[in-house]
């Protein structure tokens, strides 16, 4: 089980996921990241009028970036 932070970058602004979450494996982390991006695309937000301009940046406990997922890539898989 590893602790990951699912941060969002939108047009130069970085929204840090301070709490993070425990995820059993790297594969499940990638699945979670893709699910998160796809779900958020359907969530109306005042702050993020266009989720397709966002990137999900996953960091590990050491602060290293382990995945960069543009939302456009997540939506292409649907």
């Amino acid at each position: 089980m590893a602790h990951y932070h699912l941060n969002i970058r939108y047009r130069g602004r970085f929204y840090r996921d301070e709490e993070g979450e425990d995820i059993p494996s790297e594969i499940e982390m990638k699945v979670r990241a893709h699910e998160t991006a796809r779900d958020l695309i359907g969530t109306p937000s005042f702050t993020i009028p266009d989720w397709l301009d966002c990137t999900l940046e996953v960091t590990n406990e050491a602060g290293e970036t382990v995945l960069v997922l543009p939302f456009t890539e997540a939506v292409e898989e649907v």
Binding site: L6, E21, E35, T36, P44, S45, L56
Partner: protein, 246 residues
């Protein structure tokens, strides 16, 4: 249902010390029917009040705590459909004659509550039509809240929904410090945790709240009401109409 091992029975409350508004607004005669059966308990986050499809054995009247009613499906997706604190009680299902509910009801914000056996409440309702009417009026206010939660989920932004939810919690607790973690907020609002993070930071930017790890502090309620943008207020007004402060 097993009692949580840590649950502390503090004692039996005096009528003058009761903070639950639903109980406080009862007539003296109706409160006297319930009072001998009420015991004061301290509840922790996650304590289960009602498990899905299990007999409802006890009812709870929060004093300075909040319960969540959550709808679930088999693949573990869950979303909150209503909350109650000192404005109400668990369970509306029992008041309507059911002895189970498909939803789960658990403690979202820990704190004190009053508890009594479900059978004792059923017996008291059978003895007093006015008590029954009083509790049915509460169900009406709760149904209005559930309807506006559905409206909120379907028609408002994540920032507006978060503002509404924080106002609802603030109404039901003492003070301005709400012990809430993003993981729970995600379930309550039916939004991925990353979306909650963005909404929290946006509301922080307005000065309405201050978020720390595991806590959200209400700094400017008026600004928070503006941020809710009309998603908050109708159920609360209905509650005040049906249960005017004395």
């Amino acid at each position: 249902m097993p009692q949580p091992p840590h649950l502390t029975i503090v004692g039996h409350p005096q009528p003058t010390g009761i903070r639950n508004k639903l109980l406080r607004s009862l007539s003296a005669d109706d409160l006297a029917l319930l009072q001998p059966h009420l015991e004061a308990v301290q509840l922790e986050r996650g304590d289960m009040m009602i498990e899905p499809n299990q007999p409802i054995r006890q009812v709870y009247f929060p004093e300075d705590s909040i319960g969540s009613i959550v709808a679930t499906v088999a693949d573990h997706r869950r979303i909150e459909v209503g909350i109650f604190g000192r404005d109400g009680m668990s369970s509306t299902s029992l008041l309507l004659g059911a002895n189970t509910s498909p939803h789960e009801t658990f403690i979202q914000v820990p704190g004190p509550a009053l508890r009594m056996e479900a059978d004792a409440l059923r017996h008291a309702i059978g003895q007093s039509p006015s008590l029954h009417q009083h509790l049915l009026r509460y169900i009406e206010t709760f149904q209005v809240q559930v309807a506006y939660t559905a409206l909120s989920h379907g028609s408002f932004t994540i920032e507006e929904r978060l503002a509404r939810w924080l106002l609802m919690c603030h109404d039901r607790l003492d003070g301005n410090d709400l012990p809430l973690v993003h993981e729970f907020l995600s379930m309550m609002l039916g939004v991925r945790r990353s979306g909650v993070t963005i909404a929290v930071q946006t509301l922080e930017g307005t000065g309405a709240i201050k978020a720390t790890r595991g806590h959200i502090i209400i700094r400017d309620r008026e600004t928070l009401e503006e941020a809710a943008n009309g998603s908050y207020g109708v159920p609360e007004a209905e509650y005040r109409r049906l249960f005017p402060e004395t």
